[in-house]
């Protein structure tokens, strides 16, 4: 068995955050068309998502005075593109601490500061990728960032330990060794996501069913992972609109309240090879902080979406967030426990990165909002509390949302 681990383990830490519970609401959500290679650019995709998010809440482009995107990617929506598209010219507060991945959960924290400080009144967070189209041109995509990193270039890539499926197959095998996790367990996650995508009109895999037997019969890609354990590569994106409590109550849809936010980090950075606790994610640090801010326990969560680049990443986060004891994720996820109607913990009810679209977590937040409004395709009956868990290498983040009482 592995050495004991827990929130006090010294391999990472939680970021100290002020209490922003119920200081900001998500009032509008929109998704672009999610597709395989489409020839669209990331900014055109983002603008489609922004238009739909504004339609959702009944606000005009001129009402938006804050724009958050992913500062780490160079092709995200700019203020100039926003104005050129909508024919506006007002001042926009801009933040690069938004977008997808871990930041899809923490953008509301920065937005709450901007709202409180008078920097903005209506903030839109958007993220889009055209990685399916770019893959054909061999640029962009999830691997490029890592290949440029000097220690990886010197000490990892020469040995064929690259790209991400190789990292996470190595982590999965160790998790299997330490805890008895099996392909049946990973398959249960893939099957739950696929079933949800099959009912979601916007999911890339909406017409491709997958049973556990079919999963188990599929060949290994990077043993012990199959293609079905790995996320899609997509063109797509989404956006969500945030504002202060007073304004939130006057809009088209009922507000969804931000009640808790957390962020945790691994001291090993993005060197997965060197992470002290190899089979854990920094959700160990992030989730308890977010749940504390929200005043909830894991058992209060009605619907959960997790950043799921690989099935094993979802499994580890389920454990690390406290939904089951560490190492028991495998037996927790079997059968229909993760299905929206399974009576357990409804998980990635839109299909996730595995089967909905690889838009890096921004649609996970959209899905939680829809669940808490009662308008999801795979609606969880009576969902009141929803959580998104983000994971980006060295960072994990947690966003707790509550429906309007």
């Amino acid at each position: 068995m592995a050495e004991m681990t827990g929130p006090d383990a010294d391999w990472g830490s939680a970021r100290e955050l002020d209490d922003v519970s119920h200081r900001v609401a998500i009032v509008g959500v929109g998704e672009a068309d999610h597709t395989r290679a489409s020839g669209r650019s990331a900014d055109a995709i983002a603008l489609q998502a922004v238009e739909r998010a504004l339609q959702d809440c009944g606000l005009e482009p001129a009402d938006v005075d804050g724009l958050m995107t992913s500062g780490g990617l160079d092709d995200q929506l700019t203020a100039e593109q926003f104005h050129a598209h909508f024919g506006t010219r007002h001042d926009l507060w801009i933040s690069g601490e938004g977008g997808g991945m871990a930041w899809a959960a923490t953008a509301p924290y920065r937005a709450a500061q901007a709202l409180a400080g008078g920097d903005a009144n209506v903030v839109i967070n958007t993220f889009a990728v055209a990685w399916a189209s770019q893959r054909d041109a061999m640029r962009g995509g999830p691997g490029e960032f890592h290949a440029r990193e000097p220690f990886k270039a010197q000490l990892e890539l020469p040995f064929g330990w690259f790209p991400q499926p190789v990292y996470f197959a190595t982590i999965a095998r160790r998790h299997m060794h330490e805890y008895g996790t099996s392909p049946h367990h990973l398959g249960a996650i893939a099957v739950a996501c696929r079933r949800h995508a099959n009912s979601h009109p916007g999911a890339v895999m909406r017409n491709k069913p997958l049973t556990l037997d079919e999963y188990l019969a599929r060949p290994m890609l990077v043993d012990p992972l199959r293609v079905e354990d790995c996320c899609l590569i997509s063109d797509g994106g989404a956006a969500y609109v945030m504002t202060c409590p007073e304004r939130a109550r006057d809009l088209r849809k009922p507000p969804v309240w931000v009640s808790g936010i957390g962020e945790g980090r691994s001291e090993a950075g993005t060197y997965w090879s060197q992470q002290r606790n190899f089979t854990s994610t920094p959700q160990v640090f992030s989730a308890p902080a977010a749940f504390r801010m929200a005043g909830i326990e894991p058992e209060d969560v009605d619907v959960l979406t997790l950043y799921d680049p690989f099935t094993i990443v979802a499994l580890m986060q389920i454990e690390d967030m406290g939904f089951c004891p560490k190492g028991e994720g495998g037996s927790f996820v079997v059968g229909d426990h993760l299905h929206f109607d399974g009576g357990g913990l409804p998980f990635n009810t839109h299909g996730g990165l595995l089967s909905h679209a690889y838009v890096l977590g921004i649609s996970h937040v959209v899905e939680v909002v829809r669940q808490l409004r009662g308008e999801a395709a795979c609606q969880v009956a009576g969902a009141r509390v929803g959580v998104y868990g983000g994971y980006t290498g060295h960072l994990a983040s947690t966003l707790v949302l509550e429906g309007d009482a």
Partner: protein
């Protein structure tokens, strides 16, 4: 993304590692103040903050910490090597120090976590490019 993932043995941050490999030695930095092995290389010891790191020659023995078997070509430079096993070795001197490696001289099916392995020093080459000697790991027996 570069066409060849051959390491640059002259790059300062890892130069002693590749100089050692050329002499069939596995070299890792050790803190002269507190004695811990420091990996990946960095200017100061993460345990005691001393800036007194020296590259030590180790036994080259360790155990398989974990591995992946790449069965389908994911990445062009390694497309002609599939299936191959790549992963992490926990070093004998400190099991918390993990080296990324390729496992050689055995089929992937023979490999298991915790299995003893030893460094072998072999030239790495992609296509018609130059060679760099690197430590790979093979079953001990």
């Amino acid at each position: 993304m570069s066409a060849s993932p051959l390491p640059d043995p002259t790059l300062e941050i890892t130069r002693p590692f590749f100089e050692g490999a050329a002499r069939r030695e596995l070299r890792i930095p050790r803190c002269r103040a507190c004695g811990v092995l420091v990996w990946y290389p960095r200017p100061r010891c993460p345990a005691c903050d001393a800036d007194a790191l020296a590259w030590n020659t180790l036994s080259g023995r360790g155990t398989v910490f974990s591995f992946a078997v790449v069965r389908r070509a994911l990445w062009k430079p390694f497309a002609d090597r599939v299936p191959y096993a790549t992963g992490l070795v926990a070093l004998e001197e400190d099991r918390d120090v993990r080296l990324v490696t390729t496992f050689v001289h055995c089929s992937p099916e023979e490999l298991a976590i915790d299995q003893p392995v030893r460094a072998v020093f072999e030239p790495l080459r992609f296509g018609d490019g130059p060679e760099v000697v690197v430590p790979l790991f093979a079953p001990l027996a």
